[in-house]
């Protein structure tokens, strides 16, 4: 319904800065996820958007309206809280009707809208229950119901499905995304779960220690991480990092590790030149881009030793000892191996990432 614009926003708690110079723009009707570990400032950002927290510096706009000084009730937002924050003494119906009652909507309209929202969320048979009599998933639906009975300008979600069990969480991811598309409302969603952010959002803002690390589409974040921290945070299992050097050899520019050499292609070489790469770099390789074969001399370039294998049914995670480094490799399921069994691994040079060793900024 409205574009949300966060401009140079800071949040201080006493002398600690929780959010540092944040600039974000969430286009009308799109789904923005703010992703980061706990304490990264993502919840503070959301609470500033909701008006529950004072904005220490900077400005927040909903459309053309500057909302810095507006109390929550005048911002026309709806928020779903991490612990649902249902009113325990009210029924599901009354919980959902609360925002409408507080805005003096008439009785029939309340009834109509609550029932419609309840049907949408499939909780229409629970309307007379108290929150205590609901399961986690039902509570969460009620909390969402309370948010969607109105047509607010912005939806704010604060880790709404973090406390559900894994199966229900996977289900609700789809439901929430569907709901957002259907209601067509600007949505800002805070989470520490990269899977939620990747699967649901139109754009993701990755935050760390109060600083925005990267802002882009899920595919941008995954395929072109802006720095080593983002690369390590997004992706499961996490990306492997190795300390390497860049050397100009006869066969071209190569990334050199004590155990192997990788020749870079032209595009990568140009990127390194453009960005003035240092000699010391960190090589990043996602576990599923590394090939693995058990046994000595089994055909891949780099000889290594098995540290442990973790079969996962269809896939297998293999931890591999490569000199002093340990790498995680994701491969199709195969025979288990014992500690120190020989194996070989291979890197896909076109899919590796390089980061500056000094500050972690990505070259590609």
């Amino acid at each position: 319904m409205v574009e949300v614009n966060i401009q140079s926003v800071w949040k201080y708690y006493g002398k600690t800065a929780a959010v540092k110079d944040l600039n974000l723009k969430c286009p009308e009707n799109s789904f923005l996820a703010i992703l980061g570990p706990s304490g990264c400032g993502k919840s503070s950002t959301l609470r500033m958007l909701a008006g529950l927290e004072h904005i220490s510096a900077g400005e927040i706009f909903f459309g053309a309206v500057r909302v810095n000084q507006l109390p929550p009730k005048e911002r026309d937002i709806a928020m779903v809280f991490e612990n649902y924050a249902l009113y325990p003494h009210k029924t599901v119906f009354e919980n959902m009707a609360n925002p409408l009652r507080l805005r003096n909507v008439n009785r029939e309209e309340i009834d109509k809208r609550v029932r419609r929202a309840a049907e949408l969320l499939q909780i229409d048979m629970l309307l007379d229950r108290k929150p205590m009599q609901l399961s986690g998933g039902q509570k969460q639906r009620t909390a969402i119901g309370r948010a969607i009975v109105r047509e607010p300008k912005v939806f704010l979600f604060d880790e709404p499905i973090a406390h559900l069990d894994a199966k229900l969480r996977a289900h609700m991811r789809g439901e929430l995304k569907h709901l957002q598309r259907r209601l067509e409302t600007t949505t800002i969603y805070v989470t520490h779960d990269q899977l939620e952010a990747m699967s649901m959002a139109d754009s993701i803002a990755v935050m760390h220690e109060g600083v925005l690390q990267q802002f882009g589409t899920p595919s941008d974040i995954y395929n072109h991480p802006a720095n080593e921290w983002v690369a390590g945070f997004v992706g499961e299992p996490p990306m492997n990092f190795l300390n390497c050097r860049i050397e100009q050899g006869t066969s071209g520019v190569a990334v050199v590790h004590p155990s192997f050499r990788l020749i870079l292609n032209d595009v990568q070489r140009r990127l390194l030149e453009e960005k003035g790469a240092e000699v010391e770099v960190r090589l990043g390789a996602r576990p599923d881009t590394i090939a693995y074969r058990p046994g000595a001399n089994s055909g891949l370039d780099v000889p290594a030793k098995v540290y442990v294998t973790e079969p996962l049914g269809g896939d297998m995670i293999v931890e591999v000892q490569l000199g002093a480094d340990r790498l995680t490799v994701k491969t199709k399921i195969g025979p288990s191996a014992n500690l120190d069994d020989p194996c070989t691994i291979g890197f896909d040079a076109s899919r590796v990432h390089l980061f500056a060793a000094s500050n972690g900024i990505a070259y590609f």
């Binding site: 008006g51 009730k73 924050a85 249902l86």
Partner: protein, 337 residues
């Protein structure tokens, strides 16, 4: 086929109605339907009972025995100085119908308790809300609690000085701002009651504040915030979120205060002694006079018993409300709807 092995292994016929039901169940879900052969014994209750015996005996000695004596006395004309007690066919109770002071005592007591309760709960909650938001909370709580720490007799004496018609500060203050006429606070039968209420409010509001403050700490922050986002202002937020949450705490506070008020006598005896012209002659004071001024112990016991009975019944009603918050919630819901 392990499932069937378990089911038929218990010696059932090969095809029973149960087997048909079992067959209709989704396959692959293992059903175990037998009971354990032996249950582990629950811990013995005798031990707990033994541990409680000394306190039960002590309690019986210090409270049940006198209580039975009270009932005995209320049914007799208690003889003074060695005279025998005489059964009097419930005369101690039947005379209540014509006893003006007894009825007046009840009336005054109810008036007094109601005024105290309303003022104390109102002020107490207000103070608690203010304190809860204050940065000096801990310091202010200590200060506010001071009156409560004072023995009621001492509080009575302090206020006696403050109300004194010759040099009392409140007396002077009230006269200066024109509320009080030429009389003194405790000397005027229209005002004396309010004088007593003021003392009680001064001394016991802190208790309500303290209990409410504890309740306010428990009000979930996220519910308050959710309500704010839903569109509630501060007052609405307090009424619809904080109040239902502190309601059990308030009920305990009210229960304590009301039971205390019904037997409160210390400061009243010091300040007015029931006067002027019986304007503050509440039931406890009357009870004291009958029993220990006129030494009509039988009649006194009867008065005490009625007082006790009413206290117990009202207390039970309050506890009932406390135990069954859903009732209150329904009422609350109806008010809202």
């Amino acid at each position: 086929m392990t499932d069937q092995a378990i089911n038929t292994g218990a010696g059932r016929p090969a095809v029973s109605p149960q087997a048909v039901v079992d067959a209709a169940r989704p396959t692959g879900v293992r059903q175990i339907d037998y009971r354990p052969d032996a249950f582990n014994p629950a811990p013995s209750r005798r031990f707990y009972f033994l541990m409680m015996t000394p306190s039960i005996v002590l309690l019986a000695g210090i409270s049940i025995y006198p209580f039975i004596w009270l009932i005995y006395m209320s049914l007799h004309t208690v003889g003074e100085a060695g005279q025998p007690d005489v059964w009097n066919d419930f005369k101690n109770f039947t005379r209540f119908a014509t006893d003006g002071k007894f009825q007046n005592g009840w009336l005054l007591l109810i008036k007094y308790s109601a005024m105290c309760m309303v003022l104390e709960v109102g002020l107490g909650v207000l103070l608690a809300v203010i304190l809860n938001r204050s940065k000096l909370e801990k310091f202010l709580v200590t200060i506010i609690l001071m009156p409560m720490m004072m023995a009621p007799i001492i509080a009575g004496l302090v206020w006696l000085f403050l109300y004194n018609g010759a040099f009392g500060w409140y007396h002077w203050l009230l006269q200066s701002i024109g509320i009080l006429g030429p009389t003194s606070v405790l000397g005027d039968s229209d005002i004396a009651m309010f004088g007593l209420v003021a003392v009680d409010v001064w001394q016991w509001t802190p208790l309500i504040t303290l209990i409410t403050l504890a309740g306010l700490k428990r009000v979930p922050q996220d519910q308050l915030e959710a309500n704010m986002v839903d569109g509630a202002g501060p007052l609405r937020n307090f009424i619809s979120v904080a109040l239902p949450n502190i309601y059990p705490f308030l009920l305990i506070a009210v229960l304590l205060r009301f039971m205390d008020n019904f037997r409160f006598i210390d400061a009243i005896l010091i300040l007015t002694g029931g006067g002027p012209a019986d304007a503050t002659n509440m039931l406890p004071v009357y009870l004291f006079d009958v029993s220990f001024q006129y030494f009509k112990l039988g009649r006194g016991a009867a008065v005490a018993l009625t007082l006790l009975l009413v206290t117990i019944v009202l207390g039970m009603v309050l506890v009932k409300l406390f135990e069954d918050p859903r009732r209150k919630i329904k009422v609350h819901g109806r008010e809202e709807g």
